[in-house]
Amino acid sequence: MNRKGYEFIRDRSQCKYSFFSKGPMGIIRKIVEFENVTGDLYNLAFGDWDESLQKMDSNNRSNNQDTYLVLATVVAAVLDFTEKFQNRYIHIKGITPSRTRLFRMVINANWYEITKKLELKGLVDEEWLPFERNKNYEAVMARYK
C-alpha cells in the first residue's frame, strides 16, 4: 500500500488544496482551505466535495478506509502552505472533538518530524500554550519554524 499520501492540486491563490480519496466508497474529492481570519492568522477547513451538488458535504464522513492517507495529505498541505507563507499561523480545529483528537494523534505519532518544521501551540480553556506531546487540546495553532 502506498503510504506517502495522495498527490494533490492547489488553486492559483495557493490557499486551497484538493486531492482524491480512493477506497470502498469510491473516489471522493477532498478539499483543504486556508481562510484569512485577520492579519497573519488563518483558519484551516477541510471536507468532502460533493460533485453532484457542487458543494461541500456537511456530513463529512466518507468512510473510505483511508484515514491515514487522508491525514498524511492534510499534513503535507499544512507543511506546503506554512513553508510558503512562513509568517502565517494556522488555526486547526476538527469538525468534532474526535477529529481534533485524530489530528493531535498524527502530531504525537510524528512528533520529531513535525516539531522540527512547525512551531505548535495548543488551546486549553481559551489559553494558547506551548504544545506538549500526549496532552489534550481543544484546537491547535501551527506556524513554520
Binding site: 502506498n2 484538493s18 510524528n110
Partner: protein, 59 residues
Amino acid sequence: MKKLNWKKLRKIKFVVVDDFPDVSNDPFFQKKHQEAKDFFERTGIPDFIKNTGKSKEQQ
C-alpha cells in the same frame, strides 16, 4: 497511530490548476471559518500572533 513516511511525503506532487471547485462561498466552509472568526473576536488575537516579528513570506 502509524508514523508517516516523511521521505515519501516530501515527494507528493503539488500541481497548480485553474479549474478548481468554487468553494469561496460554500456554506460548510463559511460556517467553519465563521466559527473561528467568532472565537478570536470573542477571545482576542493572541499576542504571539500580533507580534510575530517574522517577515519572510515567500510569494
